[in-house]
């Protein structure tokens, strides 16, 4: 089986190639750093920003470097409710990455299955599935997500569901394209000749050869999911105001910009920018090194 997979799978040299770009190294380090921060948020953050009993309105709108009346430092200042911005951003990163990764993985799984089945079976199955995909892609993602959230209400699970719904079609479309090319290759004919089961051919032979493409699309889509979550939160949908994500923090700070309290909006905005840019740079570099034809 390994012989059949070697066809387009990453060779050992791919990683060396990947690290030849300094930008990719910086992006990987940045992104990994954010992942670590998200993973260990409760131990890193000075305050639990979601525990309202720890947040005091009397400490609201303090600039970076201030101290609370109990003497605790607010390194990056506080927001309009007296929430420590550093802690709020650390937890915000956690929500953003969680939403981006989980919705990306689920959408990838759904989209892959649909794409593989459509390509392998062909005929009316392919037609129906791809028309559904077309239908889905013809609506602006933000519009679909907005409508879904208005119907579903608030919560991390709901926002993940909405993101999966708007994203699976991208994966389905891409995977089908690659799988269509693969499914007419000799190794697939050979596998069919050996009378291997459909499932085994699909997931054991065709799928591994689609992986590089999927990896690249998944990275890009994750960045898109993170920014879409921030957009929805900015518009006030998705998460409750007492559990701010990065987008909601930016929205909250928006009202204070004209009075010179820049830190509430600008700092989470920079963090969001860094996450999305690093994810995109990673995706770009993977595309260059893995060289799938997108």
């Amino acid at each position: 089986m390994s012989g059949t997979v070697a066809h387009t799978a990453p060779a050992p040299g791919v990683w060396r190639e990947f690290f030849r770009s300094p930008a990719a190294i910086v992006a990987l380090a940045t992104f990994s750093g954010f992942c670590l921060v998200a993973l260990f948020a409760p131990w890193i953050a000075p305050q639990n920003p979601y525990d309202l009993a720890q947040v005091d309105i009397m400490d609201s709108l303090l600039p970076p470097g201030s101290e609370s009346w109990t003497g605790a430092p607010y390194h990056l200042g506080t927001d309009g409710q007296g929430r420590d911005m550093l802690s709020a951003m650390i937890y915000g990163i956690r929500i953003s990455l969680l939403v981006g990764l989980v919705s990306g993985v689920i959408a990838l799984a759904v989209g892959t299955v649909v794409g593989l089945v459509a390509a392998y079976r062909g005929g009316w199955v392919d037609t129906i599935l791809m028309r559904i995909v077309d239908l889905q892609l013809s609506f602006p993602t933000i519009l679909v997500a907005l409508i879904l959230l208005v119907i579903l209400g608030r919560g991390v699970d709901k926002i993940i569901f909405a993101l999966v719904v708007v994203q699976w079609a991208y994966f389905a479309r891409t995977v089908r394209g690659v799988a269509l090319v693969e499914s007419v290759r000799e190794y697939v004919d050979a596998a069919k000749g050996l009378r291997l089961g459909h499932l085994r051919i699909l997931f054991g032979h065709i799928l591994p050869n689609c992986l590089p493409t999927m990896l690249v699309v998944a990275t890009m889509q994750m960045a898109a999911a993170i920014s879409l979550e921030a957009t929805l939160s900015f518009l006030g949908l998705g998460l409750p105001p007492t559990r701010p994500s990065l987008g909601l923090l930016i929205a909250n700070g928006f009202d204070y910009l004209q009075s010179g309290r820049y830190w509430i909006s600008v700092l989470p905005g920079l963090v969001l920018l860094a996450i999305i840019v690093s994810a995109n740079v990673l995706g770009d570099r993977m595309r260059d090194t893995l060289n799938p034809h997108l």
């Binding site: 525990d51 009993a53 309105i57 409710q81 409750p240 105001p241 007492t242 004209q258 009075s259 309290r261």
Partner: protein, 537 residues
């Protein structure tokens, strides 16, 4: 390309030049809420009525402090126990030149009673209160009878804009008003343009009975986002804005190019506890529903009130512009009780009361509220959630847009049916404006037991019920003598508020920001009107 650009530039300079501007004295107002209709019987939202007030007038007007003053009626008096007689103003012209008579008033009230089809919140209920019946005596005299003695007749009629019989007969509600066809009033300004999302324009009515209006044209431009509205004022797009963001008030006050007008509003911001035996959004530490609902214990309600730091909300959220309250109407209004002082912040006593009531370990609540209706509403919700959480009542906040919030607040429960509204929320923050300047219907609306037939408790969304309050509220509605009625109202309010029927937070303080070349006489009822604005040179 360059040539065309310079031509455009020259044209824009010509438009902006002062000589051009002087030809027409235009006032442009940036408003937070856009008027949804030009039909004055469509809703009672202040965003709608403030624009309609330029075009349509009522029999009874309201002074800046919401006290009744002559409008289309010059005088009124009770002629017996159950009849009021109104003398109408003579020589009033409609915008199309026709004469105003009592027939128009009859037509208006008949239209309201018949029902304005499709209207989300018509003010018709004002006519049902007291079972009003109206008859024309002559062209300028009108009699209104009620089932019993009815003291607040003038206050009720101050809510009912008069429309023209000849212009509004048989028209389609709302639609034909928005085109201008039926938007014929007697007010100081005439309908000019209604473009939803962009602007509403009215122009001077030179034959206005109250003298020539000050502005040639008034433009209302909706800018919903607070900071964008402020920016529109700062960069000169508009001359005046309502609801300047509280956080930016100090900056406006320092700037010599702008001034701010301020007045305590008639709008009370308060928290309604739910009184059902079991409330869906109240759970114990394990997340199970609580029986009985702890909010039914007055000690719990008092504890929630004592744990709110109203001064902190005023200073840290409202930019100093709020009036902490325990009263239900603001100072100076009929029914204000001198002795009712806002609860001082006392978390220790709050915890002691909770322990005494048997809830020393606290419980969980979800506090609902709007996020685009009242000044800083979402921030107030979050601050109160902090304060309650600190005394052990773990509070989640669910803030939502006003159209969703109010329908769920009023009739959100699945048991709701027409004539029997069942509110959904277990505890919610909302507001009540005493638009009539008089506490009778604030007591009846918010403290009386809910009764869809009499209209009692039509704003009592927690379903508070106290016979001692009910008896006084019903009596007040039938007492014509002002001093007696005031005493009854003050008793009812004191009983209800000592029982923490609901938990007042503060009265809003309304502010407007404008160019220094303008003066504005603000109104307690929040309306933003060109009639109150003058240019000073």
């Amino acid at each position: 390309m360059n040539y065309r650009m310079s031509w455009l530039l020259a044209a824009s300079i010509a438009i902006a030049s002062p000589t051009f501007a002087l030809a027409q004295d235009v006032l442009t107002i940036g408003v937070r809420s856009e008027a949804a209709s030009m039909d004055p019987h469509w809703t009672q939202l202040s965003g709608d009525t403030q624009v309609q007030e330029h075009i349509f007038e009522r029999l009874v007007g309201l002074s800046p402090t919401s006290q009744p003053i002559p409008g289309l009626a010059v005088s009124w008096a009770p002629i017996d126990e159950t009849t009021w007689e109104f003398k109408l103003r003579e020589g009033v012209k409609w915008h199309d030149g026709e004469d105003f008579t009592a027939d128009d008033v009859i037509f208006t009230y008949d239209r309201l009673r018949a029902g304005v089809s499709g209207a989300p919140a018509s003010p018709a209920f004002q006519l049902e209160k007291g079972g009003k019946q109206w008859t024309k005596v002559d062209d300028f005299t009108l009699r209104i009878t009620t089932e019993g003695p009815y003291p607040t007749m003038a206050e009720d009629l101050a809510m009912l804009p008069i429309i023209a019989e000849h212009a509004a007969s048989g028209v389609e509600p709302s639609v034909d008003f928005n085109t201008g066809q039926a938007a014929i009033g007697t007010g100081p300004y005439m309908f000019e343009e209604y473009s939803p999302g962009s602007q509403i324009t009215v122009k001077k009515f030179a034959d206005y009975w109250g003298g020539e209006p000050h502005w040639d044209q008034v433009v209302f431009r909706p800018v919903g986002q607070d900071s964008a509205r402020l920016a529109a004022l700062l960069n000169g797009d508009v001359d005046m804005i309502d609801y300047p963001p509280t956080i930016d008030i100090p900056q406006l006050l320092e700037d010599p190019n702008f001034v701010v007008s301020t007045i305590p509003a008639d709008r009370l911001i308060y928290i309604i506890p739910g009184y059902k035996h079991i409330e869906p959004f109240i759970t114990d530490a394990e997340g199970n529903p609580m029986v009985p609902n702890p909010l039914r214990d007055w000690r719990v309600r008092k504890a929630l009130s004592l744990s709110i730091n109203r001064d902190a909300i005023r200073d840290r959220i409202m930019g100093g512009a709020s009036l902490p309250a325990k009263n239900i109407v603001p100072p100076g209004f009929f029914g204000y009780v001198e002795g009712l002082e806002a609860d001082a912040y006392d978390p220790e006593q709050a915890q002691a009361l909770l322990a005494q009531a048997g809830y020393g370990d606290g419980f969980n609540v979800t506090l609902h509220g709007p996020n685009d209706r009242y000044i800083n509403d979402a921030r107030i919700l979050e601050a109160i959630a902090q304060m309650w959480s600190r005394v052990g009542v773990t509070t989640e906040v669910d803030a939502m847009p006003r159209n969703v919030f109010f329908s769920r607040l009023i009739r959100g429960d699945e048991l709701s049916m027409p004539g029997f509204d069942v509110p959904e929320f277990s505890i919610a923050l909302t507001g009540w404006g005493t638009v009539a300047g008089e506490a009778t219907y604030t007591v009846s609306g918010t403290l009386e037991t809910y009764n869809a037939v009499t209209g009692g408790g039509n704003g009592n969304f927690g379903r508070y019920s106290n016979t001692e309050v009910d008896a006084r509220s019903v009596l007040a509605k039938r007492t014509i003598d002002n001093d007696t009625r005031r005493a009854i109202l003050e008793e009812a309010i004191t009983i209800g508020m000592e029982d923490y029927a609901y938990i007042p937070v503060h009265f809003q303080v309304n502010q407007w920001g404008m160019k220094a070349s303008l003066t504005h006489e603000p109104r307690t009822n929040e309306r933003t009107r060109a009639m109150d604005v003058r240019r000073v040179e």
